[in-house]
């Protein structure tokens, strides 16, 4: 089995249809780390503040053991300074010179006062005064992400620790949120055809639960190694200073842990990434299952699918826990491996020291000191050595984020912004559209649509009517030929500009659980109340909006479900109208409307068509007949076009057959 096919793990096992190549090589992992690191650029101020605070936080703690020593020796046992050979480190000099003239209780008083200040400011005192909150909750990636999103701690306490912790929380949030907003923005700008395949729950998962993994990468690349090295260096220095020559072997052997840990874990990194990818993909699948069944609850309940949906969720959720536990087991394995290394090296060093003691080169009292030095330095070394393997967990999440950040959006090569709106016409030239699976949806379409026309697109279901309409605002890109607006190929034009020219009312009625007003403002943020009411009246929606408890400000239920489908449709039409664009496309606008509303709507559309291009996809004769131009499609080809009368005049014409059939069944 090749590496590539190995990496393309369990394709189809989870729900990813867009993001299927999930393998990450070590080189790619490095690139991802680099990109995560660059996120720090925009939060430099906060970052350097944090860096400064973190390094500063180390210093006050250094005083504590020496004060402890003074309390015992000089205060309680009332010895004078200089009785023992142990040297105080230089930073203690000012205190020593101050204390040396004092009586024991005066020294105690001075130390207490110093502590009062230090505790208020730094919280110093052994035994973990650090300001760290463990918000960890839940046993899968999704539930741990909230804690990761706002993670922050300080190794100090007191006011300083509080400040540092809060700075860190903000820093963590800023890094993650920066990536999160970028991802969200990018996802909304994916091509429609990609979004058709992409699961909604997966988008939620990536935005909400994958992005919080990025700050940790930044820290592991910067703060963690810096602080670790600094602490180790200070330890070595202090011990050397106070106890004279430390056996240098101990330091070297301890430092040997860095490459050792790296070498041991390196071959496992690809495996670690894969485990974590699976854990996240299965989490996303759980989200999909939940999202789909709850969002479509009316269908689920009316089809009696509740038990099936519950069972499906149960499976997916169990699978995601299983995958998480696998990844967790690996983490525990790494933990045990680190422990084994420490024990092994510890025993080696203990043998080394005890040999020296038995021989008589060292005294028994040196054993604990030397082992203590060793374990503190080797702890730091192990931390450094295991950074790489620890990063793999985060890399798995970040890849899922950057995958969509890198995904090609609709806006590539589209700089051209005309200085005015559509003036004359939209024309389709030799236009064809082929699905990725090889089927043709449209072929050889040549069509000229003029501003001022009301065009009806007619044809049997599956003829390609909606696909044709999707070409105009660039929801789909033709695979052959092109669409020209006033003579310019829209493939070269700015998508935002183009969409500003077109209002599209979809067949499916999609409303947001906001107020009626917000739903309309989405289409036209500057619409006045009068304009809104006008659009609602045209769409035949005002009569019921008016009776809603809070009128325009009534909040609609989930996806507008508190309204009847016909009402939803009318609101969607009003939303299309309130934009007042040059081109208005309505896809089956009247399907759910009763004849009275339909007639009122169509006649107002005719009025609206003056100075605009209105394209209506319709089956209903009553609607079609009012069009100034009828375009008849069948099997993706343009069969006929012209006015109703022109087309009816053709003997055996497709449109004429179509009309006759409908009239027959309607009135025959």
């Amino acid at each position: 089995m090749s590496e590539a096919s190995m990496n393309k793990f369990d394709e189809g096992m989870y729900d990813d249809r867009v993001d299927t190549e999930t393998g990450i090589s070590s080189a790619e992992a490095l690139v991802l780390m680099g990109r995560s690191f660059r996120l720090l650029n925009t939060v430099r101020g906060l970052f350097f503040t944090k860096l400064f605070l973190a390094l500063l936080a180390i210093s006050p703690v250094l005083l504590v053991p020496w004060f402890g020593k003074i309390i015992v020796d000089q205060v309680l046992l009332q010895k004078s300074f200089g009785e023992t050979e142990v040297l105080f480190p230089p930073f203690m000099d000012p205190f020593i010179s101050l204390f040396s003239t004092m009586s024991p209780m005066e020294i105690m008083g001075a130390i207490v006062i110093t502590y009062v200040v230090l505790i208020g400011l730094f919280g110093v005192r052994g035994g973990g005064t650090a300001v760290a909150l463990t918000f960890n909750q839940g046993q899968d990636n999704a539930t741990q992400s909230e804690a990761a999103l706002s993670a922050g701690s300080s190794s100090a306490g007191g006011l300083f620790g509080l400040t540092e912790m809060l700075v860190t929380v903000r820093l963590t949030q800023s890094i993650a949120n920066q990536l999160r907003t970028r991802l969200f923005d990018k996802l909304t700008r994916l091509p429609m055809i990609t979004l058709d395949d992409h699961r909604i729950g997966d988008s939620v998962y990536r935005v909400m639960y994958d992005t919080p993994m990025v700050p940790d990468i930044c820290y592991k690349l910067t703060l963690v190694p810096l602080a670790t090295i600094l602490v180790a260096a200070i330890n070595v220095y202090l011990i050397k200073y106070s106890y004279g020559v430390v056996a240098p072997e101990i330091v070297w052997i301890a430092l040997f842990m860095v490459p050792l840990a790296l070498v041991v874990t390196l071959p496992m990194s690809a495996f670690a990434r894969r485990l974590n990818q699976k854990s996240r993909a299965s989490g996303a699948a759980t989200t999909n299952a939940m999202e789909e069944s709850i969002d479509n609850i009316s269908a689920v309940q009316s089809l009696g699918g509740m038990d099936q949906e519950s069972a499906q969720f149960k499976d997916k959720s169990a699978e995601s826990y299983k995958r998480f536990l696998n990844a967790w087991m690996f983490q525990m394995f790494i933990l045990a491996l680190g422990g084994t290394l420490t024990i092994g090296m510890g025993i080696y060093i203990a043998i080394y020291i005890s040999d020296a003691i038995i021989v008589g080169d060292m005294s028994p009292g040196d054993f604990a000191v030397m082992l203590g030095i060793f374990s503190s330095i080797s702890g730091s070394a192990l931390l450094l050595g295991s950074l790489w393997i620890g990063l793999q967990t985060n890399i798995a999440a970040v890849r899922r984020v950057f995958f969509f950040i890198d995904y090609e959006t609709e806006d590539v090569n589209r700089e051209k912004v005309p200085d005015q709106g559509v003036r004359e016409s939209v024309s389709l030239e030799n236009l064809g559209f082929q699905y990725t699976d090889g089927r043709w949806a449209l072929r050889d379409i040549n069509l000229d649509l003029k501003v001022g026309e009301l065009v009806a697109v007619v044809g049997p279901t599956g003829a390609g009517k909606t696909t044709l309409a999707y070409m105009l605002p660039g929801f789909l890109k033709p695979t052959e030929g092109c669409v020209r607006v006033d003579g310019t190929d829209i493939a070269t034009m700015n998508t935002d500009w183009l969409r500003d020219q077109v209002s599209y009312v979809f067949q499916e009625h999609m409303l947001f659980s906001d107020s009626v007003r917000d739903n309309l403002l989405l289409a036209n943020p500057v619409a006045s109340e009068a304009e809104m009411i006008d659009a609602l009246m045209t769409a035949g929606a005002w009569e019921f909006v008016e009776t809603l408890p809070q009128g325009l400000d009534t909040v609609l239920g989930k996806a507008g479900d508190s309204l009847s489908v016909g009402q939803q449709q009318r609101l969607c039409i009003a939303r299309g109208l309130v934009r007042e664009t040059k081109i208005l496309i309505l896809d089956e606008p009247t399907a759910a409307l009763d004849p009275k509303t339909e007639i009122a709507l169509v006649s107002s559309l005719r009025k609206a068509a003056k100075g605009r291009l209105v394209v209506v996809i319709a089956h209903r004769l009553s609607t079609i007949r009012q069009a100034s131009k009828i375009v008849f499609l069948e099997d993706g080809r343009l069969m006929e076009s012209g006015s109703h009368d022109e087309l009816m005049a053709k003997d055996g014409g497709k449109y004429r057959q179509f009309v006759e059939l409908q009239s027959n069944s309607d009135y025959g």
């Binding site: 309680l76 502590y115 069944s293 309940q301 979809f506 759910a592 009275k596 059939l661």
Partner: protein, 661 residues
């Protein structure tokens, strides 16, 4: 502004647990409700406890034994005891000989013996170290495994509840909110016992112990700790509501954000077409900021509590240390030192000082831990309350204890004096509906939009229950039947054609077992077979999100096929042909007519062509069936509503045709 405020309140009624004043009793109740999810894992929890006790005890004993061997025997060279010799597999030459006890000079171990003993000691250390590591890592994994099972159990129950909740709840609440409750809020269950029961209990016991210890040394020290407890308790008291408020805010804002992302990607087409990406993005950024701020202030308030408690106790500790230093220097007698033997310290000396300091520090550490666990525990309680909120919602549509069987063969479906409003504050949708449909007939439900046609059918499926009146089959009320049986015998093709991101075959056979032949037969009746075969993988073609890749007409036909496949005695088609062209529509209806013998079929439609073929027409106006009968009979009614409706369709068009010609 006023209206906005009212709306927010409205929303809180449905979606949020509005008060932050969670009483002690409520907390206890929440814990009690969590217990059933722990209960099945009890044996694992006990095993885990046993594991940690054994490993903890083992480590304690071995360090005690090991330290003696290492320090005294290996490093200094003193002989060992019999037991130690047995433990470390060495012979009696290592053992202290009782007869020669006085002659310590001769008793030292040789270098060779010290080496051997050392090697044995490290061999033991390696073995025990490896074991305790394995137990530690394994135990940690085991704990997560247990917690995952507890959480999974709760999640599944929550999803089941959400699936069965009435549509009245669902249509008013946001999908993301339910998702957040099921995912994030439910996850609090695994930590809530630790934070709110075990930790406070242990904390209080330790604090009390440390307090008694200090009291034994000096009443002054005890008094200082009591005095310190006053500001500490005040801190707990005043910060708790703050913490809860921010915790609730954090959870609500996060739930909103989840909802917003979910809604945006559900309605992405609308957003793109309206070029509203910018607006949507701004809203996302604002929502995010709110959520981040709430998380920030939540942490802020807990950290303040923790730091405050630490500082209070630290200051007390310093004061104690100062006093104790003085007493040690003057060798003052301790409070109970003379009388209680176990304390052992009769006067203040270095040992007493350090013991007392250790106890005071212990107290301090416990208080800090308590502050953190307590603070985070508040967040957990708020989360747990939100999770159980979903479970507390009783499905309005409930089953009777001894349901009656669904009557087969079906003879009639009857609505009798049915009244219904979605919410009490909204105008009623149905008012005194009476309708009866017989087996083997097609009933067309006609009327303008919003008159309650779809609602009427929802009541038959018991998606809602009527406020009054009754719906019955062969005289048996639907409320007396098992819901799954009822829905299994009534098939519906919804107006909104909901498809799932599964294969075409799976979509048609949704929630039923069916062979491929049955699926194909149903697809043929719905005129869907041909276009399905043209798809790349035929019936096994995977549909996109929400059936994204199909046209509306295709989706509609799959939806009809789904209803047909269920082969039920009652069939409801809600606007079945709205997106179909005349020819396809005609064919589908013809197929249906042939298929619909011996069944009760309801059609909701606006199309005359469909309506005219029905056996009876129920014309709905203002939430009631105003006219009922076959087409011809209704057309004979003077000034009849149905007649008006048909004439609008006919003459309205005539007018327009005349106008355009």
């Amino acid at each position: 502004m006023a209206t906005n405020l009212a709306l927010v309140e409205d929303e809180t009624d449905v979606n949020t647990t509005s008060d932050v004043n969670i009483s002690f009793r409520e907390v206890v109740a929440l814990l009690a409700r969590s217990w059933p999810y722990y209960r099945p894992q009890l044996k694992h929890l006990l095993a885990l406890l046993a594991m940690s006790i054994v490993s903890g005890g083992g480590i304690l004993v071995t360090t005690a034994v090991g330290m003696d061997i290492l320090n005294n025997a290996v490093l200094v060279g003193e002989p060992i005891t019999d037991l130690q010799a047995d433990l470390f597999f060495v012979d009696e030459t290592y053992v202290l000989e009782e007869s020669a006890e006085a002659d310590t000079e001769r008793q030292l171990l040789s270098d060779e013996q010290r080496h051997t003993l050392r090697n044995h000691f490290f061999a033991w250390s390696a073995v025990l170290g490896a074991c305790s590591l394995a137990i530690y890592a394994g135990g940690y994994w085991y704990m997560v495994w247990i917690f995952a099972r507890i959480n999974q159990a709760l999640r599944v129950v929550m999803v089941e509840r959400a699936e069965h909740l009435s549509l009245r709840y669902h249509s008013e609440s946001r999908t993301g909110d339910a998702m957040y409750r099921i995912y994030q809020d439910s996850a609090t269950i695994t930590n809530v016992f630790r934070n709110l029961v075990i930790s406070p209990l242990r904390g209080v016991v330790w604090l009390l112990g440390a307090f008694l210890f200090l009291l034994a040394f000096s009443p002054t020290l005890a008094l200082i700790s009591v005095v310190t407890a006053v500001p500490v308790c005040a801190l707990f008291y005043y910060s708790t509501p703050h913490i809860r408020r921010w915790a609730r805010q954090a959870r609500e804002t996060n739930s909103n954000r989840t909802s917003w992302i979910q809604e945006v990607f559900t309605g992405i087409k609308v957003i793109k077409s309206n070029r509203a990406e910018g607006i949507v993005f701004d809203r996302f950024v604002a929502d995010s900021q709110q959520a981040l701020d709430a998380a920030f202030y939540l942490r802020f308030s807990i950290a303040v509590l923790k730091v405050g408690v630490t500082v209070c106790f630290m200051m007390a500790l310093l004061l104690m240390e100062y006093l104790m230093a003085d007493w040690t220097i003057t060798e003052k007698a301790t409070f109970l030192g003379g009388t209680v033997a176990f304390v052992g310290f009769a006067v203040w000396n270095l040992g007493a000082f350090q013991t007392a300091v250790a106890q005071a520090s212990q107290m301090n550490g416990m208080a800090r831990e308590l502050a953190e666990f307590w603070g985070i525990g508040q967040d957990l309680v708020v989360g747990l309350k939100r999770a159980f909120f979903l479970l507390d919602l009783e499905p309005e549509v409930t089953e009777v204890e001894h349901p009656e069987a669904f009557p087969i063969p079906i003879a009639s479906v009857t609505w009798k004096d049915v009244n219904f409003a979605y919410t009490p504050d909204k105008p009623p949708v149905l008012q005194g509906v009476n309708l009866q449909a017989e087996s083997g007939t097609i009933t067309a439900i006609v009327g303008s939009t919003g008159t309650g046609k779809s609602t009427l059918m929802s009541l038959l499926l018991r998606l809602y229950d009527p406020d009054s009146g009754e719906i019955s089959l062969n005289g048996t009320p639907v409320s007396q039947m098992k819901i799954s049986e009822l829905r299994g015998n009534v098939a519906i093709a919804l107006q909104k054609n909901v498809l799932f991101a599964k294969t075409i075959a799976e979509n048609i056979a949704y929630a039923v077992d069916a062979t491929r032949a049955q699926i194909e037969a149903a697809a043929k009746v719905a005129c869907a077979h041909d276009f399905i075969l043209e798809m790349p993988d035929g019936y096994d073609t995977e549909l996109g999100e929400r059936g994204g890749k199909l046209s509306a007409g295709q989706r509609q036909r799959l939806s009809i096929a789904r209803a047909i496949l269920r082969d039920t005695p009652v069939l409801i088609l809600d606007e079945p042909t709205a997106s179909l062209d005349a020819q396809t529509e005609h064919q589908v209806l013809q197929n249906l007519q042939a298929w619909g013998r011996e069944r009760v079929v309801f059609l909701i439609t606006h199309r005359l062509s469909t309506i005219r073929n029905a056996d009876q027409i129920a014309f709905m106006k203002d939430g009631t069936v105003s006219e009922l009968g076959p087409h011809d009979a209704l057309m004979k009614l003077d000034a009849g509503h149905y007649k008006g409706f048909v004439e609008t369709e006919l003459y309205g068009i005539k007018d327009e045709v005349e106008a355009s010609s």
